[in-house]
C-alpha cells in the first residue's frame, strides 16, 4: 500500500471519529453545554494571564539535568518534556515539582521550580500508582456514560480516594432500576469501552474553577451539585475539574497525562449498595487495571480479577458523613 493511501486512511479514520464525537456531543445537550462552559472558562483563564513572564524550570533526570526557560501560567510539564524528547512525552505519566508535589502533566506551572518526570517504572512509584488508580475511576465514569443508554437514567455520584491495596478501583453511580444484575457480557462491554478510551489516547485536562462556575457546569446533576459547596469550602472556594474527551468530573487530582497509560483492564463487578428514592438505587462499579507495558500471566491476573469482585470497603455514597473532612472527594 502506498504511503498516500495510508495517510488517507488514517486521516479518514480520525475524521470519522471526530464526526462520531460531534454527533454524540450533539446528542446529549447537557454534555455539550458542560463542555462549552469548560472550554469558555479554559479560554478565559488563558486570556487572563496577560503579560507573559518567564520562569526557570530545573529539570532533574535523564538524559541530563538542564534548566529550561518556560512561560509562567502557560507552560506545562508536558511542554518541558517536549524539549527533551518524544520518548519523555510519551512515557511520562506524572510530574513531580520541587521533589515532593505531584503535578499533572497538562497543568500550567505557577513558578520557578525543579521538575522530575515520573513513569510507572521508577523505584518509588507510589504517587504515580495512586494517580493511575484515580484516573481509572475517572475513566470508568466516562466509560459508563458512554455505555448506558439514556433510558437507564445513569447519574454518576462520586468516586472515593484511590486505595490500591483494596484491589479494585471504584465508581459509585445511581441507576433508575433497583434490581440490575449485570451479566458477564454486559461487564465485558463496559471493559471494552474502557479499552476503547485507552486506544483513543485522550488527553486528561485539569481546570481549577470558582464554585459558581462549577455549579453552573453541574447544574443538571443532582448529586454533584450537592457535593460542590463542601468541596469548595475546603479548597478556598475553588473546585478542580478534570476533562477527558467530552466527560467532565470533579476530582482533587492529580491524574496521569493521557488515557493511553491504561493497559490491561477489567470491569469486574457491580454491587447494589442501597435504594435511592422510589425507583433508583446506588451501585458500586468495581474493576482492576494495569498500566500499559506491564505484563502479567493470565493466571496471576485472574487472581487479581477475582479479588476485585469483592465489595470494596471504601466510604459508601449514601451514608452521612460525621466529619466534613472526610467528604473531600478524591
Amino acid at each position: 500500500m502506498s504511503r498516500a493511501t495510508k495517510l488517507h486512511k488514517t486521516s479518514w479514520c480520525a475524521l470519522r471519529q471526530f464526526q462520531q464525537y460531534r454527533t454524540k456531543a450533539n446528542f446529549s445537550p447537557s454534555i455539550a453545554s458542560r463542555n462549552e462552559l469548560f472550554a469558555q472558562e479554559q479560554l478565559r483563564q488563558r486570556d487572563a494571564v496577560g503579560r507573559i513572564d518567564k520562569i526557570e524550570v530545573r529539570y532533574l533526570g535523564l538524559p541530563e539535568d538542564v534548566t529550561l526557560v518556560m512561560n509562567n501560567h502557560i507552560s506545562t510539564p508536558f511542554n518541558c518534556a517536549q524539549h527533551l524528547s518524544e520518548g519523555h512525552c510519551r512515557r511520562s505519566a506524572l510530574a513531580l515539582i520541587d521533589g515532593s508535589f505531584p503535578w499533572d502533566m497538562h497543568r500550567p506551572l505557577q513558578e520557578s521550580c525543579t521538575l522530575q518526570l515520573l513513569n510507572f517504572n521508577v523505584s518509588e512509584p507510589h504517587v504515580v500508582n495512586k494517580a493511575f488508580w484515580r484516573t481509572c475511576s475517572f475513566m470508568l465514569g466516562a466509560a459508563l456514560t458512554r455505555a448506558f443508554k439514556t433510558e437507564a437514567n445513569l447519574q454518576l455520584h462520586s468516586f472515593p480516594g484511590p486505595n490500591i491495596k483494596s484491589g479494585s478501583f471504584i465508581h459509585d453511580i445511581v441507576l433508575e432500576t433497583q434490581n440490575w444484575q449485570p451479566s458477564k457480557s454486559e461487564m465485558r462491554a463496559i471493559s471494552a469501552e474502557m479499552i476503547r478510551l485507552a486506544a483513543q489516547d485522550l488527553r486528561i485536562e485539569r481546570l481549577d474553577v470558582q464554585l459558581e462556575i462549577a455549579q453552573e457546569i453541574f447544574k443538571d446533576s443532582k448529586y454533584k451539585s450537592e457535593q460542590l459547596p463542601s468541596i469548595a469550602q475546603q479548597n478556598n472556594g475553588r473546585v478542580s475539574l478534570y476533562r477527558l474527551g467530552d466527560h467532565i468530573d470533579i476530582s482533587r487530582g492529580p491524574m496521569v497525562a493521557s488515557t493511553h497509560f491504561l493497559g490491561k483492564c477489567t470491569v469486574s463487578a457491580a454491587h447494589k449498595l442501597a435504594d435511592e428514592g422510589s425507583a433508583g438505587a446506588f451501585y458500586r462499579i468495581q474493576g482492576v487495571a494495569l498500566p500499559c507495558g506491564f505484563k502479567l500471566s493470565h493466571v496471576a491476573y485472574g487472581l487479581l480479577e477475582e479479588r476485585s469482585q469483592k465489595l470494596n470497603p471504601a466510604r459508601l455514597p449514601h451514608e452521612p458523613f460525621e466529619e466534613q473532612q472526610q467528604f473531600q472527594l478524591s
Binding site: G87, F120, N121, S123, I164, F294, L296, A300, L304, R307
Partner: protein, 176 residues
C-alpha cells in the same frame, strides 16, 4: 499410508516465519541477498547480540533458527548439517562454537533460540526500522526491565495484597 510424515522431515521453528521472502535489495540479485544473510547469521553466532535493520534481522533470524535446530536434531556426525553449517558460517571456528557451545545450551529449550526486539531509529537518519537480534542465554545484561523485583510497582502491590488476604483467610479457616 506409508508416506513419510512431512512435518517431521524438517525442523519446526518456534518463530513465525513470513510466507514469502524479502528480496533485500541488492545489485548481485539472490546471491547477494544470501551473502548478506550469511554475514548476519555469522555475526549473530559470533557476537550473540547485534543491532541492525529490522527486515534483514527478521530474514536472517529464520535461517539462524533453522541452523541451530538442525544442529540439535542431527549432531555433528551428519553430513548435510555440516554442509549447512559450513555454508552459513563464514568464519569456520564458529562451526565448533555451534556444536560445542550452542547445541548444549539449547538442547532442552522449548522456546525459540533467538530473540528479537524493536529498537529506536536514529533521528534524523535512515527511515528504516531498527531492531536488536540476540541469541537467548547470552552473557549480556537483559534488554528488558526487570519488573518482578521492585515490590512497589503496581502489579506487585496488587499481588502482594492478594497473597496477604489469601493467608489471612487460610489462618481464619485453621482457627475455626
Amino acid at each position: 499410508m506409508n508416506q513419510a510424515d512431512v512435518t517431521k522431515l524438517i525442523s519446526q521453528l518456534r518463530i513465525a516465519v513470513r510466507p514469502n521472502q524479502r528480496n533485500l535489495k541488492n545489485p548481485d540479485g539472490p546471491e547477494g541477498r544470501l551473502l548478506k544473510l550469511r554475514k548476519t547469521v555469522t555475526a549473530l553466532m559470533k557476537h550473540e547480540r547485534i543491532e541492525l535493520y529490522y527486515n534483514r534481522a527478521d530474514e536472517a533470524r529464520g535461517y539462524a533458527e533453522l541452523l541451530i535446530s538442525n544442529a540439535i536434531r542431527h549432531g555433528d556426525r551428519h553430513k548435510a548439517t555440516m554442509e549447512l553449517a559450513d555454508y552459513w558460517l563464514l568464519e569456520k571456528q564458529l562451526v565448533h562454537k555451534l556444536f560445542k557451545v550452542l547445541v548444549p545450551r539449547y538442547e532442552n529449550y522449548n522456546v525459540s533460540y533467538t530473540r528479537m526486539y524493536k529498537a529506536p531509529r536514529d533521528y534524523p537518519g535512515m527511515y528504516y526500522r531498527q531492531s536488536v537480534l540476540e541469541l537467548r542465554g547470552n552473557p549480556y545484561p537483559s534488554l528488558l526491565m526487570d519488573q518482578s523485583q521492585n515490590r512497589n510497582l503496581l502489579h506487585n502491590v496488587l499481588l502482594d495484597e492478594a497473597r496477604k488476604e489469601f493467608r489471612r483467610k487460610k489462618l481464619a479457616d485453621l482457627v475455626n
